[in-house]
């Protein structure tokens, strides 16, 4: 066991765990942040996607010892009030069925929109290729990303 200080969703947390423990299980078992989901454990489904310094990462393949001082953002910290344009779009378009994969979908999509505010279908395919949805809500996930891009553009217009 070793002690690690993690920066998660803007807060500092100290945990005492085996160094090879995946960040996924530290978030879920130690920090009670269960929004990040376990699906495969080998980086094939992306249900566990979080951001490390803003870049999408698979928490199931990220040993806690490799996180260092990187800022970890989970679905619980995607927005302070659940009003990220993607979260609004997901509710507006009723994207989820079972909902289990959607935290990972949202985190992958948020990283995409952060670097590409208006992605094409091809760019969405590429950015979301790692994320499985067993209910196969891809049709609405795609629509949700486009809708979030619109909502973000509206916000930018208002601000400018």
């Amino acid at each position: 066991m070793s002690k690690f200080t993690l920066q998660v969703n803007g807060r500092s947390h100290e945990v005492d765990v085996a160094p090879e423990t995946p960040l996924l299980w530290v978030l879920r078992d130690n920090l009670d942040l269960v929004g990040t989901k376990f699906g495969c454990g080998i980086g094939q489904c992306a249900a566990c996607t979080v951001h490390l310094d803003g870049a999408p990462a698979r928490a199931c393949l990220t040993p806690v010892s490799a996180v260092g001082s990187a800022k970890v953002t989970t679905i619980e910290g995607l927005s302070p009030d659940g009003q990220h344009p993607l979260q609004r779009a997901w509710c507006e378009l009723d994207v989820a069925q079972c909902g289990y994969c959607q935290a990972g979908q949202l985190m992958s999509a948020a990283a995409l929109l952060a670097r590409n505010p208006n992605p094409s279908d091809g760019e969405i395919d590429e950015a979301m290729a790692g994320n499985l949805c067993r209910c196969a809500t891809y049709y609405r996930i795609r629509a949700g990303i486009h809708r979030a891009a619109e909502l973000s553009a509206t916000v930018r217009e208002v601000r400018s």
Binding site: M1, T21, D29, F38, G41, C45, I75, Q87, C98
Partner: protein, 738 residues
């Protein structure tokens, strides 16, 4: 709450005290033995005045309405749709309605989620529940105003008297309504559907805000104080028992609290409940997973340690070529004179179709949290079948079912897998030994290798068309691992000369219902072979299939248990899908349209797929059009469309690349890298859904839109390339053309 109101409530047999401050109007009902809910019956308050949670509606004095959702939410949207039905009849303002998941309790009636049965079983009952409460609220207002109740209506959370323009909010009627008698069942008027203001609208899932913010909704998210984490290792060969294991070594690993062999099978002789294995209990999920990597078990050989898919396929071919009357071949239907029909046919086609075992692959791996304390237990489970889960837990634990409390969590994908409760049994047996809350989590390999699979199967088909281009003979030999095609399954009853032969292979593979069981593969084989015969006849496939469906509206079932097939509904959706899809357009080589249609789970659905296949054989499903007849009323348009969109895309995922191989009595694949599921880029870019409303009771949509998809795609591939896909997954067939 005033003392006077308290007394009034205690006097009223149908009212109970809410355990929350404020109390309110609480309406419950009992369920008849048939399982069909009936209108509010007096719901006895217990002598001690405690609330018995068997009510569907609670209205508090501040006007907030709580509706209980009785059935598990598995992604089918039932937690939103059935409360919408209650709210519609109640006249509630949907924005003021909170939906709460009910616990497992007989007062709520049937609480499983399976077979697309929730809507057909509960639609009318939920209307009656809402209408009863509305009737009482209206009566309360009418009495207050001294006007006839017939002049008052309930809408948007208030009762209005249109003649005088007065209105009273529901919350202000709670006390008065609570003192009224429960109206007789027969006197409760349901709304005229043309007056519906909520049903048929697009309403987002009630849990969406929690889903998109990562709240702990799912089984795997549940925690209790003092909880420990467990894994349960089973034999790779189904049915094998552990003889010994390196338990001392495992117990010494970091974080490990206990490790032990469980040598029980419950129910006895079955492979879908508790089966023998090795439990490891640890202080964290990762510690338990890590310890399992070091677990070494000596397993007794299972019942069929050498079974393999290749050998099953060989046995199936042997059965198919066996002479008539051979052992192991049952003739389950014979109409007309099939040999004569083949002899006199214009065209005869023979084909062998096969499809593999596939997995449910719920993205939320199987899991369960159980706390056994002496002679009672509490279960938190993502289960489609809470009553079955409780019964299995009771049998495993030796505790009466009534001493086991079951909380149904949101479910990260069901598809039929969670009708079985093996993870509940495993967690229960571990918690009973330790006496603390135990969270059991399967990893993906366990999930894939210990699923209760969608069975594979083999169809040996021979069909004929006559000189007029009509289907004149159909001979089918289905070789299966469990259930066989039924004697009335389509196209039985529509072909004058028809023979159905069925065989079962001896096997030890655990099997269970997978989204649209049976239909999900029968539709593929049936509609693909019909397409082969249509092309042989020289007729257009839509025309050929409409002719096959005949001119009778209702075709009677065979025998006392046979059920009618509504050919008129099916012809209607086939015609509609042809029209909406632009069927018959000339497409360039490499592009094609295909038709699939099937009746399943009370729904009549036809789909047309439009595909592009490159000369190199790369497939793209460009567009799917669906015509869907599930009766007179779509409850939630958003949820209904989501189910059809998902079924179409899931159907494509299953048919395109999913396949489990069986070697040496076990499943070979262990994770998604070996079991390719459909991803974003391969999902159909365009899905058009046309709901065809007919004067029939509303039925469910979790399943029936899936079966027509695979044949629609395979028939479109033929139209595009001239290649027939007679084996699933589609990826096994070379689709290249030149």
């Amino acid at each position: 709450m005033s003392a006077a109101l308290q007394t009034a409530i205690d006097r009223r047999s149908f009212l109970r005290l809410a355990t929350v401050a404020g109390g309110g109007l609480v309406l419950g009902y009992y369920v008849r033995p048939s399982g069909m809910a009936q209108v509010a019956k007096p719901d006895a308050a217990r002598a001690d005045g405690l609330f018995i949670p068997n009510a569907f509606i609670r209205i508090t004095a501040d006007g907030s309405v709580t509706v209980y959702s009785a059935r598990p939410e598995v992604g089918q949207g039932i937690k939103t749709s059935l409360p919408m039905v209650v709210a519609e009849e109640l006249g509630a303002d949907w924005k003021s309605v909170s939906v709460v998941s009910a616990p497992l309790d007989a007062a709520f009636g049937p609480q499983f989620a399976g077979g697309s049965m929730s809507t057909p079983m509960s639609y009318t009952a939920m209307r009656q529940v809402g209408a009863t409460a509305r009737t009482m609220l209206v009566e309360a207002a009418a009495q207050a105003w001294g006007v006839p109740a017939s002049e008052c209506i309930a809408e948007v959370g208030a009762v209005r008297h249109s003649a005088s323009g007065r209105s009273i909010k529901f919350g202000d009627l709670v006390a008065k309504a609570s003192a009224l008698p429960v109206p007789a069942e027969s006197s409760v008027m349901l709304k005229d559907p043309k007056d519906f203001t909520l049903l048929g609208k697009r309403i987002g899932g009630v849990d969406n805000p929690k889903v998109v913010t990562g709240q702990p909704l799912f089984g795997i998210d549940q925690k209790r104080p003092g909880m420990v984490y467990a894994v349960y290792e089973k034999a790779p060969v189904w049915g094998a028992r552990p003889l010994s294991a390196n338990l001392d070594h495992v117990k010494g690993l970091p974080g490990v609290l206990d490790a032990f062999i469980v040598d029980r099978t419950v129910p006895a002789g079955q492979v879908t409940g508790l089966v023998p294995g090795v439990a490891i209990v640890a202080s964290s999920t990762w510690a338990a997973f890590s310890a399992r990597n070091e677990l070494k078990v000596a397993w007794e050989e299972g019942r069929m340690p050498n079974s393999s898919w290749d050998d099953f396929a060989r046995q199936a071919r042997e059965l198919a070529s066996a002479p008539p009357g051979s052992p192991g071949v049952a003739e389950d239907r014979r109409d007309g004179d099939i040999e004569k029909a083949f002899a006199g046919a214009a065209h005869v086609i023979e084909a062998a179709y096969s499809y593999p075992f596939i997995s449910h692959t719920n993205l939320e791996p199987q899991n369960c949290l159980v706390h056994v304390q002496g002679d009672q237990a509490e279960v938190w489970a993502p289960t489609q079948n809470p009553d079955g889960a409780r019964k299995l837990a009771a049998e495993v634990l030796g505790i009466p079912a009534e001493r086991i409390k079951v909380t149904m969590t949101r479910i990260g994908g069901g598809f039929g897998r969670r009708l079985d409760s093996d993870p509940v049994a495993e967690a229960a047996v571990i918690s009973q030994r330790l006496g603390v809350p135990v969270k059991l989590t399967w990893d993906r390999a366990a999930d894939l290798q210990h699923d209760h699979y969608r069975p594979g199967g083999f169809h040996f088909l021979k069909g004929a068309v006559d000189s007029g281009g009509a289907l004149s003979a159909w001979r089918s030999h289905h070789v299966s691992f469990g259930s066989n095609i039924g004697a009335d399954d389509y196209p039985a009853r529509f072909v004058p000369n028809y023979v159905l032969l069925n065989s079962k292979l001896e096997n030890g593979v655990p099997q269970g219902p997978w989204r649209a069981p049976g239909s999900c593969t029968y539709a593929w084989m049936t509609c693909c072979f019909l397409d082969e015969l249509a092309h042989a006849s020289g007729k257009d496939p839509v025309e050929f299939n409409l002719a096959l469906l005949g001119d009778k509206d209702l075709v009677a079932g065979t025998g006392p248990r046979g059920r009618p097939y509504n050919a008129a509904r099916m012809r209607n959706v086939v015609r509609q899908v042809a029209e909406k899809s632009g069927w018959g357009r000339t497409l360039p080589r490499g592009r094609g349209m295909g038709l699939g249609y099937y009746f399943s789970h009370q729904g009549y659905i036809a789909e047309v797929a439009e595909v592009t296949v490159t000369p190199a054989g790369d497939l793209k499903v460009d567009r799917v059009v669906a015509a869907v007849d599930v009766g007179s009323q779509i409850v939630n348009m958003s949820g209904a469309e989501n189910q059809v969109q998902g079924s179409i895309t899931d159907g494509l995922s299953a048919a395109w690349r999913q396949e489990l191989d069986i070697k040496q009595g076990r499943v070979v694949q262990s994770n998604f890298h070996e079991y390719p599921m459909l991803r974003m880029a391969d999902a159909p870019r365009s899905i058009e859904i046309h709901f065809i409303k007919t004067d029939n009771p509303p039925t469910g949509l979790g399943e029936p839109a899936l079966p027509p998809l695979a044949p629609a795609v395979c028939n479109a591939i033929f139209a595009a390339t001239g290649r027939r896909v007679r084996q699933l997954p589609i990826s096994r067939t070379d689709l290249s053309w030149s």
